[in-house]
């Protein structure tokens, strides 16, 4: 007979795992439904896995690696893939890239280059608040287009927080200036991640899908030629949106900037360690531009990690401690799901049915494709992780017909529109972890950013 304490423990476990149980029930219901016409049994089953995975990723009732393992286990148990095929689809260059870029982030952030960055920014911007906002936003965007959004946010946040502390001992009292500067960094970094393939794992996932599905082999520079002009257009527009959403209490930050300059000047001249760190990153960047078509972006990122380790700029313990292995495993599983969706025909089936359904709303197929790829991705990226969104949505939108390059770009770029919620992206979570921005601030500025980004993307997709 169970004691009251044991019963309570069970109730507590059930309350904590309610979304896991819900996901399993929904999955079981979908599994038991007859396979729809035109869909293979394997395709039906992979869609069941996708539904379960989406619930688990959104609500996180179990650790990320457990979600990844569930996906792989079900792929094999449902006879969608043999154990070896599941393993092969799990690891790809995109996963190597995600692993490498997370480790590069740790290596770069630990070099203390943020002080140099701070000095560079305030030298360019001066002490006018609007120039600082534009500077934070622009530099975050440009840097994150190469080294990833989370790296840049982690480096830029102490700079902005120091400025805020110098403006007021308790930055919480700066009800508009604080979110203005912090969102400049978070949104700037998120926007910038579209600029190059190395800006985010999701870009590499899309490159992988194009290659895997025999659509195209897009180079680093080719990607930039599509995405960078859009990024440059977005920077001033985003600065305006943020400025008018959070009209700051101070239009100049004279004292704060002066104190920051004094602080940063204490760092002295660049050390050989810092020069080496920048040198290695330049090598990695050149590798991405010139070598990635042959050896892949992921391998180049891993070369960078090895170089940082080799020159003693970071130790393995630190890399191991700060690398989110759960994210790597989960993205591997998400990519595996995407590939199985393609191989089983599930992606094509969903794409065709989505088009048939949406045709009832408007006969303009081009607009429909674009609408699905951008809006669905944009909404999901604010609930799921952005890389997971592209991994799942990618195979579907690439099967919707039309120009698969444009639709692929639109999807990858829309996955950066993670402005609406705290959990939308690591950059949003990082600034929220400061305790200085509220959840409602994300919606307040985010919907304008979202709308602006969609409009700019629409215009560029017409030009491409």
């Amino acid at each position: 007979m169970l004691t009251n304490r044991s019963l309570n423990t069970i109730i507590f476990w059930l309350s904590q795992k309610r979304w896991f149980i819900f996901a399993l029930i929904i999955g079981a219901v979908f599994y038991l439904l007859p396979t729809p016409e035109g869909l293979t049994t394997e395709g039906h089953h992979i869609l069941v896995i996708v539904v379960i995975a989406i619930f688990l990723i959104i609500f996180e009732p179990i650790p990320l690696p457990a979600i990844a393992f569930i996906v792989l286990i079900l792929e094999v148990l449902f006879s969608i893939a043999s154990p070896n095929d599941a393993a092969k689809s799990f690891f790809s260059d995109a996963v190597f890239f995600i692993m490498g870029s997370l480790m590069l982030a740790v290596a770069i952030v630990s070099q203390g280059l943020d002080k140099r960055l701070a000095l560079g920014i305030v030298r360019i911007t001066g002490n006018k608040t609007w120039k600082l906002v534009l500077g934070f936003l622009g530099i975050s965007a440009i840097l994150s287009s190469f080294i990833g959004e989370h790296t840049v946010t982690a480096m830029m946040m102490p700079v902005s927080l120091t400025l805020l502390h110098y403006t007021k001992a308790d930055p919480k009292q700066l009800k508009r200036l604080t979110p203005l500067l912090l969102f400049s960094i978070a949104y700037g970094s998120a926007m910038g991640s579209i600029g190059t393939p190395s800006g985010g794992g999701r870009n590499v996932i899309m490159l992988d899908y194009w290659r895997e599905f025999g659509i195209a082999n897009i180079t680093y520079l080719k990607w930039m030629s599509y995405a960078y002009p859009m990024l440059l257009v977005e920077i001033p527009l985003a600065a305006l949106i943020l400025w008018f959403t959070f009209k700051p209490e101070h239009t100049t930050m004279d004292t704060a900037v002066r104190k920051l300059k004094v602080d940063v000047a204490k760092a002295g001249k660049m050390t050989s360690k810092e020069i080496s760190a920048i040198g290695i990153f330049i090598i990695v960047f050149l590798g991405w531009v010139f070598l990635s078509p042959k050896i892949g972006l992921g391998i180049v990122a891993l070369i960078g990690v090895v170089l940082y380790l080799l020159f003693g700029l970071i130790n393995w313990e630190s890399l191991n401690r700060n690398t989110n292995w759960g994210v790597i495993l989960l993205f591997g599983a998400a990519i595996s799901m995407g590939i199985q969706m393609k191989d089983t025909g599930a992606a094509l089936w969903v794409a065709e049915n989505a088009i048939v359904f949406l045709e009832k709303i408007t006969p303009n197929i081009e607009l429909l494709r674009w609408f699905v790829s951008v809006f669905l991705t944009g909404i999901l990226t604010n609930l799921l992780s952005n890389a997971a969104t592209v991994a799942v949505i990618g195979p579907i939108v690439l099967n919707m017909g039309g120009d698969q390059i444009i639709i692929g770009f639109s999807t990858a770029i829309a996955s950066a529109f993670a402005y609406l919620t705290v959990v939308a992206s690591p950059t949003c979570m990082i600034i929220h972890s400061s305790g200085l921005v509220k959840s409602k601030d994300y919606l307040r500025a985010g919907w304008k950013m979202f709308l602006m980004s969609v409009i700019v993307l629409f215009i560029f997709s017409q030009i491409w």
């Binding site: 009251n4 304490r5 019963l7 309570n8 109730i11 507590f12 309350s15 904590q16 996180e60 650790p63 990320l64 997370l102 982030a105 740790v106 952030v109 630990s110 203390g112 943020d114 989370h150 946010t153 982690a154 480096m155 946040m157 102490p158 700079v159 927080l161 120091t162 502390h165 700060n322 690398t323 989110n324 759960g326 994210v327 992780s385 705290v422 959990v423 690591p426 979570m429 990082i430 929220h432 972890s433 400061s434 305790g435």
Partner: protein, 294 residues
């Protein structure tokens, strides 16, 4: 005795810390003051950690450290910690990260056995439950929350007695409202009520509510036993017998100068989960501080 005091901020937690430390002093208890920071999505834990390491190099502390610093200053000002500890000041570098989502600093207490300041991160109820389960606290002291399910989850899941603090009012003006019936929970609640009354020299109103006009034998016996227990301990005890709905009557009888003490429900946890219990309903709807004894 071990007391856990959950605080959230300087603005909202002063009464909680005040009352918690009064109780700790009265019972010579060891105290843990806990701040539970916001939950970080599993996708961002490493990135947030990296950003916080980066901030720390600039001397910018993670949220929660300032709250602990405020708690430290409160303890020093009110002489709850030794003079040496107070003179040394709050040193962020003494915060020890044990992994397992627990950062702590131990302080030597003057009246209490010792005071730990700890930082945890996550959802408040699972974190407090984990803390109580692993460190065996007798009472968890917490402020009133506006969150919809908070009262329910505290009563249902936290495995210690729960003391919900309302306002900062001096204990010398308080009376205890001891809710008594014939349930098993009443006996332990009586013991706690007596200890509190003795420690703070509070008079007690012993309240028994019957749904029917005739008080049953069990109710009468429990009521008289409670009165005798208090009288034997030299505590002024006043008898109140009322007829009506127990929850409504307790709420209507309690004033803001009453500390309600009642035992936890002995109902099956499954029934409690779906239907709630008397202590839960009183906790949710009453503006007086309340101690639910488990």
């Amino acid at each position: 005795m071990k007391i856990l005091i959950a605080i959230s901020s300087k603005e909202y937690s002063e009464p909680t810390l005040h009352v918690g430390m009064w109780a700790a002093k009265a019972f010579n208890a060891s105290v843990t003051i806990a701040y539970v920071g916001q939950k970080i999505s599993a996708f961002s834990t490493s990135d947030v950690g990296l950003a916080q390491e980066s901030n720390a190099k600039w001397g910018i502390e993670r949220p929660g450290v300032k709250v602990l610093e405020w708690a430290f200053n409160y303890l020093a000002k009110n002489e709850y910690i030794t003079l040496d500890e107070a003179k040394a000041g709050f040193n962020r570098n003494t915060l020890v990260d044990h992994g397992k989502n627990r950062v702590e600093v131990h302080l030597k207490g003057n009246y209490c056995e010792g005071v730990d300041l700890i930082l945890r991160r996550g959802d408040i109820i699972p974190e407090l439950r984990h803390e109580v389960a692993h460190n065996g606290y007798d009472i968890t002291v917490i402020g009133r929350s506006q969150k919809r399910r908070m009262a329910h989850d505290l009563v249902q899941y936290i495995d210690s007695s729960i003391y919900v603090v309302r306002d900062l009012l001096p204990f010398k003006d308080f009376r205890i409202l001891q809710a008594v019936d014939d349930s098993k929970g009443t006996a332990k609640a009586l013991l706690y009520g007596m200890q509190v009354a003795q420690a703070f020299n509070m008079p007690v109103d012993v309240l028994t509510v019957s749904k029917r006009d005739n008080f049953g034998k069990g109710y009468k016996r429990a009521h008289n036993k409670a009165l005798k227990t208090f009288e034997k301990a030299g505590i002024e005890a006043n008898s109140i017998l009322k007829v009506g709905d127990p929850v409504e009557t307790i709420i209507n009888t309690a004033t803001k100068y009453h500390l309600i003490v009642m035992g936890n429900s002995q109902l099956n946890p499954v029934v409690q989960f779906f239907k709630g219990s008397k202590p839960l309903k009183v906790m949710k709807n009453c503006n007086s501080p309340i101690l639910i004894v488990k």
